[in-house]
Amino acid sequence: MTDFTMPSIPGSATARLRKPDLSPGRISRRYAAERRFRLYGVLAVGLAIVMLALLLISIVSKGYSAFMQTRINLDITFDAQELDPQNTRDPAVLKAANYTPPIRKALSAQFPDVTERTDRRRLYDIISNGADRQLMKMVLANPAIIGTTQSVSLLAGDDFDMLNKGRISRNVPEAERVLSDKQLGWFDKLQSGGRVHYAFNLDFLTSGDSREPEQAGILGALIGSLLTMITTIVLALPLGVMSAIYLEEFAPKNRITDIIEVNINNLAAVPSIVFGLLGLAVFLGFFGLPRSAPLVGGLVLSLMTLPTVIIATRTALKAVPPSIREAAYGIGASQLQVVLHHVLPLATPGIMTGAIIGLARALGESAPLLMIGMVAFIVDVPRSIVDPSTVLPVQVYLWADSPERAFIERTSAGIMVLLVFLILMNAAAIFVRRRFERRW
């Protein structure tokens, strides 16, 4: 107390009692500031909602039509002479047969007056050139239809599909239009003949990619994404959580763990394409894993997700109140028991949040996957994590890059599927998080 003196108050002799300034002006200014602040918040949220709505509207308005498809009914004659001259009904023969002529004949039967070569080729464009596969499948499933005439609903060509969906305007001069006036006339005739249908496009959800937009489906990429995500979760979550628990709870705090911590934080900020190059060099180059495989994609994405999971887990572990640890230590729990019985359950919601963020980012990632060949054009739906495959964002990228008009709607529809996948994944994670959340 000796070297401590009260600061002398200027004019303390006439010191008056200081009172809070409660004048209406000051108080109303305070409230005004508060209202302003809230307004900014509401504006910010509002802006975000408007942006999101714009995004969704633009995607959905462009993409919803991909879930509908124009089909054309034709009376197809399955000519035994043409398809199975030896009358073997051998599947190999039936598979090898050419199913395009029956379609062309059926079309020509509709328009007997079209005789010129170029006109006929244009006429055949009305039906998708993948329609022969549909006939082949029909015949393979039921060889008895050979020799009969069946009314078959065939996929329309993509340009006619676009026309039917109103994406190709009839008001444009013929020279600037994909479809000629003649083609429009043929289509209109089919339509007035009641042969044009507009039906739900299940094929989009059940088939793989194709060069023909009307046949292109999302299933290959969807399964590819699913397999890649499963690989990522299986690798990144346990590895990340274990590393975080060790670093946070068990590791001694010294220079080495400091360096590790700094590097983990750095890794979280490394551009994803770098991880792709790493994956290319290590997993494909060194270990010789298959190109374009979800296994490698999952490995690369888990490398990318690990730092996020580790950081989130460490934060969640740190946030567990020390009193709980003390309580557990106090009754003789070992360090492992403290961590497993008390700290980890309490940290689970936080860990799940981190995992959701990391996986959501991984799901939307395309750059690193381009590096390991997941950008390849793959028609077959992958059946395992070593089959060649692509993923949803890369599929969207591939379609967005395609010149055909009809791929625009596929691109948007692909984004819609990606968003639904993302929402489902997040919902699942939130569900898990809720289950683990404990009430205090």
């Binding site: 705090k253 109140p321 009193s323 709980i324 309580a327 106090g330 009754i331 003789g332 729990a333 019985h341």
Partner: protein, 285 residues
Amino acid sequence: MNDATSNTVMRSGHHGMALPMTAAGKERRAPASEATKIHSKDVCVFYGQKQALFNVALDIPERQVTALIGPSGCGKSTYLRCLNRMNDVIEGCRVTGTIALDGENIYETKLDVVMLRARIGMVFQKPNPFPKSIYDNVAYGPRIHGMSQSKADLDEIVHGSLERAGLWNEVKDRLDSPGTGLSGGQQQRLCIARAIAVSPEVILMDEPCSALDPIATAKIEELIDELRENYTIIIVTHSMQQAARVSQKTAFFHLGNLVEWGETEQIFTSPRDERTQGYITGRFG
């Protein structure tokens, strides 16, 4: 007999005793009716470079309540946490000297700290029940220490512990509801039940009533008095009235030193050291 242990000079006598105490030494002390449960000597604690405790030498008698008093930051909690090696958990904390439980040095490297904490329970300043059910709170210790063979066994332990903690009648109908839903005083008694469920020999209490209202405090104090029959209790408290009410022995800490210890009555009525005098009469602290 009171004089024998209350005399601060006697400390040197204890120092002379061989550590760890031999069985013979223990037997020799037994007839004195005040068996020493915990014997500590030259206890120094460092937090990094800072020394928090200076050569503390204190004997804790069995089945009595020993109160540790002193102003904030005097090292009484630090000393308490040395007794079940809770300081091990703190980064950069170093303890030197000897602390012997029943003649066995607890800072011996081969000693299992988990077993030690099962023998020396602890109750903290802020009630800290686990975010689990009341039942699971009490059953946790017995479970991890493998104390029960069956569910019925465990039920019995839980029942008995809650009963002894004076909480059974209040919670018997809601054992499945979360322990954190209880009132502060009930939570603290739940923590005591949790501590005694593993049948410790010693219970350390670090200001157990500082977050409680007077009625809850009275209940805890009553409980401490009952528990004294079976357990050795060491309580850190800021309330000198509480120390006077519940303890038989009192130790006064100041600036990391053990200033004086002895019979509670003697400390409060005729302290030898003027710092003790100053503290208990409220001149500083």
